[in-house]
């Protein structure tokens, strides 16, 4: 199992989410994060004075998948998150030791299976 952690631009999220859902990966988490990288900060002008904000808002996506599905998810993220400009973000792939579904106590890859059609409807 692998956890894919991607830091992306906000606007890239919706196409990534819908394509992952289409391909059978409905389960993911996101978080609003602020971070710095090569992209410059923002200078705020306030009644004549300035304030430099060094971190920019980004979105973090976390998806845990079976090893064989790793490339598919990474490629989906690359496809939608890449604009070619500084600030597109980064993807990290991390090994996961165990996965347990709380409702049933199931363990392992079974936890990562896509839900049935009925469960994900709308």
């Amino acid at each position: 199992m692998k956890k894919i952690e991607a830091f992306i631009r906000h606007e890239a999220f919706e196409p990534i989410r819908s394509e992952l859902l289409e391909k059978g990966f409905p389960s993911l988490s996101i978080g609003e994060v602020k971070g710095s990288g090569r992209q410059k900060g923002i200078v705020e002008h306030y009644r004549g004075s300035t304030l430099t904000v060094n971190v920019r808002p980004k979105l973090k996506i976390e998806v845990v998948v079976e090893d064989k599905d790793k490339s598919l998810v990474v490629e989906t993220i690359l496809k939608h998150a890449r604009t070619g400009d500084v600030g597109d973000g980064k993807i990290f792939v991390i090994p996961v030791e165990e996965a347990i579904r709380i409702r049933t106590g199931e363990e392992g890859d079974a936890v990562l299976q896509a839900h049935s059609e009925a469960e994900i409807a709308a």
Partner: protein
């Protein structure tokens, strides 16, 4: 002066003089104002009851001016509440700039274009309005005095309201420079030409002998603003993400319903000046009747809009209730001085229905974030038409016919239908002219400097991209980077990297030693 215009001495039956003055126009007001002041002002000691009455009338006009000015705050909060957090500051700057441009443009050019002097198309006197200015020619000429300033100011603030309505459709994506350029043309030419046509003795003041009756401007002010907004919207396009890949409209919720509510209520209060102030005086206390009509229609509009949207969607939509109140107010604006109390809630209720179906329909095709096309445009059309249905014989303008309701009850339907047609012509002419002129201006802006911000700027929000600052900085700047923040990031074993000068003394250490 054309024969179709009433001279100051023919203002109507005694006792209804001032409320009839409105019927002449914002432009004509100047003439009236002069007639009020000149005889009495010559000698302070010689002031009789007549001069005091004139001053009381002008006092009410000045109170109404302040109320109409307050409507700018209403538009501000309404638009900001319906915007996202990243675009709130832009709305503030826009209101200040537009109000100020409308003021200067109206004083220098717009008032002259709208005034009662001149021909069927535009006025020719009153530019760079100043004291002791001679306006008009021949027997109707008059010298500008204090009362004229009040009446001119009232017209100016109406122009500013009309301009404020334009921008509701353009929020969150238009370039700031477009505001500036269009505002100049609108306040100096477009709005004054419409005002002249209806209130200044122009083309729409006499259609086959009948005047278009628009007491305070459902058509002249509100429809004009909304049509300008429509022209801008057609060239501007929807906000990014408004329509999904399937082409269906998605909600882009505004960030604050309390601000929307406050905005609607400020407009509602301001409308007392807008409608009841259009009596231009306190004669017969007629202004109170206009205010009651206004209140009845607004309430009916809010209730009916809320009811209709509940039946359609099974949710008690907060924003739609606000749109309903505005639609009721816009609807009653034209008939407020011409109809009896019983007609006002009917007019407001129909406006409430119109606004909901209008918003639901327009939403599918055009991205109008505040519903201005429905609340000001469709309700403005309805309000103007409703005069032709409900205008009371005792209140109508000279030459006009009562509403169709009275035509039926009194058995004289033909003239009433004629008046209804005149009202419709007023709407069509206003729509056609304002749309053509506004579309031309916005197309020229689009072709030269561009009408819309870049996609990146839109995503970042107009506050930071156009104005270099956030309207709500603490929503966007992490606490850690905010000067004076008490929340300091600190990981055990690492030095706190921060600006020492702006960091308060290390309080936690003291606690440890204590």
């Amino acid at each position: 002066m054309g024969e179709r215009r009433k001279s100051r001495n023919e203002l109507g039956p005694p006792g209804r003089g001032l409320s009839l003055k409105k019927r002449l126009s914002l432009g004509a007001l100047v003439a009236l104002g002069a007639s009020l002041v000149l005889p009495g002002a010559a000698s302070a000691q010689g002031q009789g009851i007549g001069a005091l009455t004139d001053e009381l009338n002008i006092t009410w006009v000045m109170v109404a001016c302040v109320l109409v000015l307050l409507m700018q705050a209403g538009f501000l909060l309404l638009e900001i509440g319906f915007s996202r957090q990243k675009n709130v500051g832009a709305g503030v700057a826009k209101i200040f700039v537009n109000l100020s441009i409308a003021t200067i443009a109206w004083w220098s050019v717009g008032f002259g274009i709208s005034s009662l002097t001149g021909n069927d198309f535009f006025g020719t006197d009153g530019f760079f309005f100043h004291n002791n200015q001679e306006i008009g020619g021949g027997a109707d000429a008059f010298i500008v005095g204090g009362a004229d300033a009040a009446l001119m100011l009232f017209g100016m603030l109406f122009c500013a309201v009309s301009l404020a309505i334009v921008w509701g459709t353009t929020l969150e994506r238009i370039k700031f420079s477009a505001y500036v350029i269009y505002a100049v043309v609108f306040a100096a030419l477009i709005y004054p030409l419409v005002a002249h046509a209806v209130y200044g003795g122009g083309l729409l003041a006499d259609i086959a002998g009948k005047p278009v009756m628009d007491f305070a401007g459902s058509s002249v002010v509100h429809l004009t603003g909304a049509v300008g907004g429509l022209a801008a919207l057609l060239l501007l396009g929807a906000r990014s993400g408004k329509y999904g890949p399937d082409g269906k409209a998605r909600a882009i919720p505004g960030h604050s319903m309390p601000l929307v509510g406050l905005g609607v209520l400020l407009l509602w209060v301001g409308w007392y000046g807008f409608n009841a102030g259009s009596t231009f005086g306190t004669t017969d206390n007629f202004f109170a009747q206009v205010a009651l009509n206004t209140q009845l229609a607004a309430s009916a509009g809010a209730l009916v809009a809320l009811g209709v949207i509940y039946l359609k969607t099974k949710s008690l939509d907060v924003g739609m209730a606000g749109n309903g109140a505005i639609a009721g107010l816009v609807g009653i604006t034209a008939p407020s001085g011409y109809v009896e109390f019983w007609a006002a809630p009917i007019i407001g209720a129909v406006a409430g229905v119109v606004v909901v179906y209008g918003v639901l329909f327009i939403e599918k095709h055009l991205d109008d974030p505040v519903g201005a096309l429905s609340a000001h445009g469709l309700a403005g059309i309805w309000g103007t038409i409703s005069v032709g249905l409900f205008a009371s014989p005792r209140l109508i303008l000279d030459g006009a016919a009562p509403g169709v309701y009275y035509g039926i009850t009194d058995g004289e339907l033909a003239p009433s239908l004629g008046q209804l047609a005149v009202q419709a012509i007023g709407v069509i002419a206003t729509f056609a002219f304002v749309f053509a002129a506004s579309y031309a201006v916005f197309a020229a802006i689009k072709a030269t400097i561009g009408l819309r911000v870049s996609e990146d700027e839109e995503l970042a929000g107009l506050d930071i991209s156009s104005h270099g600052m956030y309207g709500y900085p603490e929503a966007f700047i992490p606490q850690e980077e905010y000067p004076g923040s008490t929340v300091q990031p600190h990981v055990a074993g690492t030095p706190v990297v921060t600006n020492a000068a702006s960091t308060p003394p290390a309080a936690p250490e003291k606690e440890v030693t204590a």
